[in-house]
Subunit: 675 residues, 3 copies
């Protein structure tokens, strides 16, 4: 990418009155240099079956081009028009709750041929219409694509063929999935029931994996079509989203981002996060790390919030802080959803950069400073490259597996809670990470790999992790890792199964802790944070050293946390769910053992440091202050230029960072990593 992109989603179609020229003038004042259009508005572009109207696309493209604003054009396939559903109600997905009904977007069966026919036609017509327009920088395929739990008869039919392909015989299926249980055996493929109500976790999880594959296929299919039209230099991206808890929380359950991102030139994501008092930068960092890791390259923040109600309206300073936080994780674009606040319909309070009055406002005024800085510092800030020594290994399959088999009957905790327990504590001690997955083949690049709840894993993956440790890597495995194979079949060995080799620990029993604390450890944990909750394994070390045991009258003999030397490496095993404070101590210990303890680790949240090399090969050091308190400290790195104020700082010179603010340093000597 040649320059930092600062963008907005723009919907000329949603405007209450003619605004294009005014909007463009205001965008230019704010330094907006890219807009994203067309991805939600099929009914505008094809108002009736086979009647196409791309006038609004053309006029926006022309006007933007004239204003030197680049455009990302989206295929409008994620929201189907009324005429299609009226003619062909069968395009609506059938889920376990029955057929969906018209209204929202993302209600169709992405495998339905009628839908696919119309989708292909609108894509081709649109591409044909815009393909030569010089304003276009790239294309977005669909939007926040997922499988929408499509599971009607046609999908079931296809799933049976998938199972046949995988297992060949029903006997093999029955055995591997344990279908004999509760008389679920399938002894002729014709007997295969819909899995909508299955109680078999292996079967249910396989269906989820199959549904995620439908997303991969659908996206790849669209990419192939768009590729026929796109010109040299135009990218194709998607807008992936994350597990949603009212904001972008964790790994997306319904899409495997690593496989789905393959056909794209660059990964795009949306990241929505709490702001105001709750702005920590964690979701920005987490989403960014996932996005960057999908292709080990820079990424686009296709959507993030401007001033969406209620707790996302930024305090003064936060919009800037947020924008540069994205860059510090490796983003090359920050784009708001959306330019203006909508006057009708559904997302009326998901406000844009402009409020409903469409006039300048304090947030817009702050955006102008961002646009100016992006422009001024683009060459220094773009294409930030990272070489992290720490990785977190995530697994869609384990996420699904743990949604079938929850920690216990009354806990709401899920897989992503454990991922975030680890991610957040690493973030707070300024350890930057890559996100890796079961097919990552460069494990050896990392000094430390954290493996949260790898509940579902093939022998091959576990052996590979053993080998990684044996060769000198350090791994931290948590409870439940290695428990089942790739088909959610529990291993028949003692637990934790294959990784016992690296971890030097065994267990046969696990319980839900009640008033259980850790003891016999050397962690610095306040009494209040010493409790274990929700899940505990009764560990017996074989070769491992015990780092902590349980303080409990019945389970006191068992280990809680262990560390094992294996070959040239170490493996820490955490057998229970601990507090954030305890997890922090475990991770600090692991980072030190892995010999990657650096100056950054002297700093703690709310001071966050992000690093990387810029295009010129200089080390960049972002310092963020995510708090209402001014932060001051001695600058820990070599002579650097603070880019915003263009001031040079020496090592150990005092630095002050205002509330909700940041500084960006470029280390003077090229390639000097200071780590």
């Amino acid at each position: 990418m040649k320059k930092l992109l600062y963008g907005v989603a723009y919907y000329d179609e949603y405007m209450p009155y003619e605004r294009l020229e005014t909007d463009i003038q205001m965008m230019k004042e704010a330094g907006i240099n890219v807009v994203r259009i067309a991805e939600s508005t099929w009914s505008t572009h094809e108002p009736q079956n086979g009647i196409f109207d791309f006038r609004s696309v053309s006029r926006v493209l022309d006007a933007m081009y004239k204003a030197d604003i680049q455009v990302i054009v989206g295929t409008p396939t994620y929201a189907v028009p009324t005429w299609m559903v009226k003619e062909h109600p069968e395009v609506l997905a059938i889920t376990k709750n029955g057929p969906k009904e018209y209204g929202a977007r993302q209600i169709m069966d992405i495998t339905n041929p009628t839908y696919l026919f119309y989708a292909e036609r609108i894509i081709r017509k649109l591409m044909d219409h815009v393909k030569d327009h010089p304003a276009i920088i790239g294309y977005q395929i669909d939007n926040e694509t997922k499988h929408y739990d499509t599971s009607g008869p046609n999908v079931q039919q296809r799933f049976i063929k998938y199972l046949k392909e995988k297992f060949k015989t029903t006997d093999a299926l029955n055995d591997e999935f344990g279908l004999a249980y509760w008389s679920n055996n399938v002894n002729a493929w014709e007997d295969m029931p819909s899995v909508i109500a299955t109680i078999n976790g292996s079967l249910g999880a396989e269906f989820s994996k199959f549904q995620r594959k439908l997303v991969d296929d659908f996206l790849a299919w669209q990419v192939e079509i768009v590729k026929e039209y796109r010109k040299e230099g135009q990218f194709i991206t998607q807008n992936f989203d994350f597990e949603w808890r009212g904001y972008s929380y964790g790994i997306q359950p319904n899409v495997n981002h690593f496989s789905a991102s393959k056909p794209f030139d660059i990964t795009g994501v949306d990241i929505y996060h709490p702001s105001q008092e709750d702005l920590t930068g964690i979701e920005i960092s987490f989403g960014g790390d996932v996005a960057r890791s999908t292709k080990q390259q820079n990424y686009l923040v296709v959507e993030t919030e401007a001033q969406a109600f209620s707790n996302w309206t930024p305090f003064p300073g936060q919009l800037r802080l947020q924008a540069f936080s994205h860059l510090a994780s490796g983003a090359n674009m920050v784009s708001y959803w959306h330019w203006h606040s909508i006057h009708n319909s559904f997302e009326t309070y998901w406000k844009g950069l402009l409020s409903h009055d469409l006039q300048p406002n304090p947030v817009y005024h702050e955006a102008k400073t961002i646009g100016a800085d992006f422009k001024r510092l683009s060459a220094k800030l773009i294409n930030l490259k990272k070489k992290n020594k720490t990785a977190i290994l995530v697994s869609n399959e384990s996420l699904t597996g743990l949604s079938w088999f929850k920690f216990n009957h009354h806990s709401e905790l899920n897989y992503n809670d454990i991922v975030r327990l680890i991610y957040d504590e690493l973030y707070k001690i300024n350890v930057e990470v890559d996100i890796i997955h079961s097919e990552t083949d460069n494990l050896a690049d990392y000094s430390l790999i954290i493996v949260p709840c790898l509940y579902v894993a093939s022998d091959e993956l576990l052996e590979r992790l053993n080998q990684y440790v044996y060769n000198g890597g350090h791994a931290v495995f948590t409870f439940k890792s290695g428990f089942t194979n790739e088909n959610l079949k529990v291993r028949t060995s003692s637990q934790p199964g294959i990784i016992e080799k690296a971890c030097g620990v065994q267990y046969q029993m696990f319980v839900e802790p009640k008033n259980v604390k850790l003891t016999n450890h050397s962690y610095d944990i306040a009494e209040d944070n010493n409790e274990v909750h929700t899940w505990m394994e009764l560990l017996t070390p074989t070769t491992a050293k015990v780092l902590a045991t349980y303080d409990h009258p019945a389970w006191g003999e068992y280990a809680a946390i262990t560390c094992n030397e294996y070959g040239k490496g170490f493996a820490t095993y955490v057998g229970c769910i601990v507090s954030s404070e305890t997890m922090s101590e475990i991770l600090i210990d692991a980072v030190k053992r892995a010999n990657i303890w650096r100056q950054e680790q002297q700093f703690r949240f709310p001071v966050i440091i992000k690093s990387g090399l810029n295009d010129a090969g200089h080390e960049m050091k972002y310092f963020f202050n995510y708090s209402f308190e001014e932060q001051s400290f001695a600058y820990p790195f070599h002579e650097s230029v603070e880019l915003l104020e263009d001031v040079t700082y020496q090592n150990e010179e005092m630095i002050k960072i205002s509330p909700w603010s940041f500084k960006i340093f470029e280390v003077k000597e090229r390639g000097r990593t200071n780590k």
Copy 2:
């Protein structure tokens, strides 16, 4: 009306054994002078399709007539018989949850012609049968009529025609409702989908309005039929109910009481309210004010509780207190649902005046004193007329609008909570109010109009409110008022839109407060009650004076509450949700500014004063004590006769009111209002 009515609903059909003569004798002893019959018992009167049996009606009419008890006959159309549903399952309403199933009442589609055919036939047969009976004082149409969310294909079809009529073209519809959003455009009327699952708030709210209109039409249709039969002097009423939260809470979302009450001679309502420790009189007063305001005349309390379980069984004294509270709001009838407790079915614990043993009990004995006092004092107490100087403007459309766009994602607060926040505080300082609405044309009659959350309002209405202030009225507007037009389209001006003129204040941004208090104000509020919650607008006064600002590090520069002089009047604007205590202070300030602060305002809940002129033109002063503590004070009005004890009190003479008791004063000098 000639005399106060003291009544019960009476179901001869539900009696476990022959009781009619015994019941009538017991009624007479209790002073019951009216019974309400037939409104729930279609299956008794038409046991088979076309077979009619009005024997129970006749025998009750005859027996009551003999006993000089008057009768209100209801049309039995709100509960359909088994034979109808078995023959014509299509009479059951189809809602967003699918077709209703037989069992409860209020399950039919009130637009279904089969239902309407049978309904008309049973009404005509019944009317024909009873029309000459001298016992009948009036008729009730249906019961607690609502639209039951009927939204099946036939209703959708009719709604499309309604939209066509309103918008003429699909383009106009698309523009006004913003249907381009998420590709919801309708470009041919034939494409219009069912709105059951719509995500477009404008469309959804319009459908709700349309559904309320179906109720208006249905009731008007029945009234027309009954009018063909009713005699001179017989009234036609309905039994409206309120938003239900286990008791009558607020404005009814599914009926517009102001339009629906038009065809009736007199408005009837049911009011169920907490009793025991929770009896405050507020729901009695609120429901009464709504009922009285629908036609600006006296009204009937068609149903209220006798001793329904669990917390409605009155303490000794409360049944009397409740009955006279109704009169003090302008009721001319107080009627219990119901005479006897039911021995089967569903509402077994919704007990009547008699318990299941059908014998006298403490509550019945208390009713006897009420009946006696009603009879003795009827001429003095009937037809109480009020001339309130304060009004609250309510809006069904805003209620619906705010159910689409809630205050925030996690708050359960709705429109009625805000209405009640205001109503309750006015009640507690003894300010009596009328309830007005968007079509009220006598705004000038009021010195003070409170406008809670008028989220949905036409330009015309807002201009009219501006004009009211300009002409010397005082208005209190709360947050969110004026935000959208009548089609739930957000205004594109700065907010609060048109009323900015009267209020002298602007905002572009709003947030959810977290640890925000009010500051820079002169209210007398305890620290604990000073917090702002759920919603706050960041106000910037143009011409208004600031009454309070926000105490917050980021939002401290904005105003929270303002007051503006405009023309000859004042407009207070409240930009955030405040505590009851703060709201009380705001309202006290407004009442004083509006120059309507009277002697009543020296008294506070649990002492409640209600006033009005009786038929003889004397000012009536009710004093209620809603507490377990005796209340004593100096009588604040001119020489008056306490009617219950027939004792004359002078101004400033000491008065004592026992727990859960009351006194009724008639000011001696005619027309002397003492205010």
Copy 3:
């Protein structure tokens, strides 16, 4: 029964690899002498329609026989195979939530003839195959059979005939059920609607009773088939379960255990209960008392937990404690669900005696000591006979009735909560009870009968209870008893209706208490436990003595608890829901009045004593310690032998019981009851 059975459910079909010989060897080491097979695995035994394969049954039978382990064979009818549902989707039950979908067990309509045809065929094929096998000790019919809320059109049709048979005329039905209410009259049988959505409690409760009868019929039908094949000496049992709250809590709502157990030779039940810190023995005792009482004989614990996650994994010692607790209530078999932990599907964490590694573990090692002690002490411990003087009268009809008419609108308390409130307090003071029901004809055998919430009861039953008291029995009735007749029709007499005679107390009114305490009583209750909640009746004694009144400004004149002398007996009436502590005091008082206060009552939970006569006619005394604290006390009975350690103790000799442990005494002198 000849010897104590110690068993496991065994599923050769679920094993991940060939394990039979290994498993049998491990079972033998643990003293397992019975396994239960085949009840869940229809699809294994009939892999395709009409293709039978009993090889796994045969090989297990043969191997077990060789190892001298007996086998209980279950009919595999509670989990239907895929082919059946694919061919005949109509076998799935239709409930108020629509048709069930394939996946879980217990999804079929137990009245569907297609299902019944296939069920009969598999039963006959299986029986024919195994009937001569010498390993078989008995048969289990189906499993945890219930009606699964089957209520489709065919069931409705059958229900109409049932109603016709019961009521003859629709008029009788209308009158008794009060169908006139809300126009629900049925005036031709053809008009009878499905009762799925009925709001009539009498009709709904009758349907529930009818559904429970379907279970009786289904089980009796299977028993008749199996009887055609079973040999002399082989028993037929069922595996009943209880109201489920994540564990076996109370009376089963969907089966009448007393009628359903009639066709069986011996009652089997499953009892799952909290363990670890929450192990009290109460559920073991309650389930055992119900099971024993169904046929007034010993019973089988067909399923109980071994180490199911999460809070059921026993502390060291608890597995033993649990096993002997079952024996002390009269069980002759303790069998775990299940031998091994399952590696797939649904109940993966409902762990067996073996963990997923299928190796010995601490719990298995503890089981070995149980097996050894069962074997060694079998002759002493088997067939424990009880002659309890106290009984609790339970009623499925009252349970259903109170689910229609809850204590109040916001309380979650149900019938079983009140049963347990009483049961638990009796348990804690070591009063052993029988569980009796409306058809129990030996009331006179008891000195004390507790009657919790007998909301639904015929005149005959209530008269019989009166007579019981009159003849010298003592009864404790709680609130709501006697309120309705057997058809859920509220009595028209003053309440508590017919039992007023025995109780000498009346009420007409009841309320939900708020800040109400008991006063004027002589109970020893801490202030904090003195509150009344959820429900209170305003009692007026006629002849009863007042034991407590309400401390409340309005209800202070009414009695709360009374006791009445009637004939030669006493009846206590408890008019309100009290704390556990208060209930304990009430029951202590009743036990003393009934003159059955014994040495056992000097002991309190966590020391629990269970008694009975063994086959040799010796009194057995089990002492359990359900706590982490050692218990010591003077032995209260005559000279006895402690059987586990074979040590003789004299009266008053000091005894110590370790945490989570127990002792078993056999009183030396035969027949010496020591009570």
